[in-house]
Symmetry: C2
Subunit: 464 residues, 2 copies
């Protein structure tokens, strides 16, 4: 089997970052273990299309086992890491299993941030997982079902008001898609209800939508949204979230909007796992990493993607929490590890522990948990490694049918060209030919017939 | 708007029966309301393919509003009927809303039957809804994930043993698909585990699989199943279902199989709604109907599909609980009603109650619930109507890739020809071109690459 000295690489998270790190290590003579709490890689940029009934979950999710099936040096385990002991070089899962490593790539991502309002998540769900998307889809479609049979005009208005908090790409794309769904796709499906009465309200504390984009594209996106009937409420923050209303602004300026449908796209923070590292985090719970993406004083441990606060070594600019950045960081970390493994054959290890890399928790394990081993590999010092430089290829956001904005740094595009580019880029980066094909087909269908095929209410209605 | 005397037709259930009844009434001068507790029509014959990761729910489900969008005399409401008052001609929903009718088509279907074992449903889930299918898919895929990291050989064997109870078409198709998924699709996805170690056990109290088929086709199906590695345990009934085992047979003959994965495909019974009618039911909870499919002494109320015990007027043969029979019965009932409405203009009604057909429950309603009205229409007596004759076009069941059996009454087919016929028939009856196209595409993918694209674990794990 494996030589005892084969280096063990642990990748936590199978998103854009983790997957690209694994692929960069495909030729490495190493034992790679990739852990994820889901069994699939999720193409998050299109998750809002699952929430708005355009795509099925299976179109944008790929089983991690399938994706990495041919990479024989990589094992996938379905497991949620609860904590990481940087000194012992060990990850412990929620079920108590332990994974020792020589190199760690931590790519566990982010979660929806509510800025300390613990009662808001239940009232204003976010969009991070397939279950989140199906939950939003169910709430959205149920709102129309209820409005159709509701005779109290006020309750009906409340049911048909949708407040989306956060006018970044996710919020903008969700608002546009929800407006199209109401005004076009579902219009002829109801008898009593005029679905065009639905109000889609996009809220942001900033004074413009898509604030990371140049102002001209923000203006273009705002105009496109308003043409679709989306109401913009900008420049004021959300101050209260109730079960049937949301308040923006404070004092005499405050506006309370009655709605039973609030969606939170206002921000993310690092997953709580980061706090178990015992290293400095920024306010958003991200790990402040070295220029090579390793953790200070732990050259063997990298943090990449949404969970890292990385600054470009030359410009000092913060790397954004987008798919492109995570992919580039994953490749960067993977290549560093691959090079170090290739250039320095590891010293022989304590003896025959290779098979015990994974230690299932509890006393039932035939392999008792091995005592903490001394650090096995002297990594190259962080400062001698290549630094990470984020290559910003631009930003894209779609507002709806044939409406999008593209910031290609020097070139700013809107309308149809931007929309075509958006579609092309997303199809290109979707993993697997099956996903590409099905997504293209569904988009063609939507484009030709204004028909969103996945208008299904499934799952339990946990918040009736 | 509608004339007060426009007859009100209430259809309960949007399955094959209800949908075909609605369509047969498309030219009727009537106010049709179709109620379903789901917002979609579900193509149940392919539901096992959602449970076995070949298709997405959106491929085989069509929103009822979309399906009936153009039928302007038909309104769809998402509602679950709790009881029906045949004398008042009124349905009451679980939320207290009431629907008065002149004609009723009750097509509420069946549910999984456990023959009085109230603790079995949680341990051995059935397959009736999309949520059921996603639940089975999650349990199936999780079993392999757990086995991959399980070091106790006995627990591992238990996790990889799948017991399917009931060797009718659903059980046979599920067993075949699960065997293919384990032995072919997932084989290269695991590192420690040999997925071919998975045991798929098909259990039935009958001495042959597919007992409604001719014996030669049962034998053929059994041979095909065994070639796929399915173990058949026939001729003994299930006597105990525990959390981690199932027992078949009794006394010294009893066999206890350790498994944490039990799927119930052993039988159905009419939904509990039938019991609220106050008319005779058979042992399976089905309404015993007249030869025209109406309820005895209630010529205005029809029961069709799985909820009816209908006998062919000439042969006395019981109509089977299959899609074909429900579709034919739906058309039969719909045509009778359409003819009676067309031939006898209804007498004027008490006055201005048309808008009050639907009465949302609770005191908030602006329309108070109208007092029970006298029967409004004298229906044609049941005995003077055309009788229902089920035209049996044959039976099909697929075992796996290029394996199926087809009983076309005189012609018995197996293997590739039967499989092609099976695929053709199912694509033909799938509702909507989008569903047909996506399903065909997914099948082509599965056929060419042995790849089941929807291997996603989603939803909450309610039974860990």
């Amino acid at each position: 089997m494996n030589q005892p000295q084969t280096p063990r690489i642990l990748i936590v998270g199978g998103g854009f970052g983790g997957l690209n790190a694994a692929r960069a290590l495909r030729r490495a003579n190493a034992e790679i273990t990739l852990l994820d709490r889901q069994n699939h890689h999720l193409f998050q940029p299109l998750l809002y299309q699952v929430a708005t009934a355009a795509l099925s979950p299976g179109d944008i999710a790929a089983p991690l086992r399938k994706v990495l099936e041919r990479q024989r040096n990589c094992t996938v385990h379905l497991a949620e890491v609860a904590s990481i002991d940087l000194h012992a070089r060990r990850a412990i899962t929620t079920t108590g299993a332990t994974y020792d490593y020589d190199y760690l790539v931590l790519a566990a991502g982010s979660q929806t941030a509510y800025f300390g309002h613990d009662d808001w998540p239940a009232r204003a769900p976010g969009l991070k997982t397939i279950d989140d998307a199906l939950d939003i889809r169910r709430r959205y479609l149920l709102a129309f079902e209820r409005a159709e049979t509701e005779s109290d005009p006020q309750a009906r208005r409340r049911a048909l008001t949708f407040a989306i908090v956060g006018a970044g790409p996710t919020g903008v794309e969700m608002a546009g898609a929800m407006a199209e769904l109401a005004r076009q796709t579902m219009r002829r499906s109801f008898r009593r209800l005029d679905t065009r009465d639905a109000r889609i309200i996009l809220i942001d504390g900033n004074h413009r939508v898509l604030e990371t984009f140049p102002p001209d594209l923000s203006a273009r996106a705002a105009r496109d949204l308003e043409r679709l009937g989306v109401e913009l409420r900008l420049g004021r923050h959300v101050t209260a979230v109730e079960a049937d209303a949301i308040t923006i602004g404070a004092g005499p300026d405050a506006a309370r909007i009655e709605t039973t449908n609030i969606i939170w796209a206002a921000g993310v923070q690092g997953v709580p796992l980061a706090a178990t590292l015992g290293v400095p985090l920024d306010r958003a719970g991200r790990v402040i990493v070295n220029p090579d993406l390793s953790i200070p004083n732990h050259a063997e441990a990298f943090v990449i993607g949404d969970l890292a606060l990385a600054k470009d070594a030359s410009t000092g600019k913060q790397t954004p929490g987008v798919a492109q950045a995570a992919m580039q960081a994953g490749r960067h970390a993977g290549r560093i590890i691959a090079n170090e493994i290739a250039s320095s054959p590891p010293p022989p290890r304590g003896g025959g522990q290779a098979d015990a890399q994974r230690q299932p928790g509890g006393g039932a394990s035939p392999h008792p948990v091995s005592p903490s081993q001394p650090p096995l590999r002297a990594s190259v010092p962080s400062s001698l490694r290549p630094f990470f430089h984020y290559k910003d290829k631009g930003e894209l956001a779609t507002i709806g049918r044939a409406r999008a904005v593209a910031n290609l740094n020097r070139l700013h595009l809107g309308g149809y060209p931007a929309w075509l580019l958006w579609a092309l880029v997303h199809i290109t980066y979707l993993i697997g030919y099956r996903s590409k094909l099905l997504t293209l087909l569904n988009w063609a269908w939507l484009y030709l017939f204004y028909d969103r095929g996945v208008r299904l209410i499934t799952g339990r209605d946990t918040n009736p």
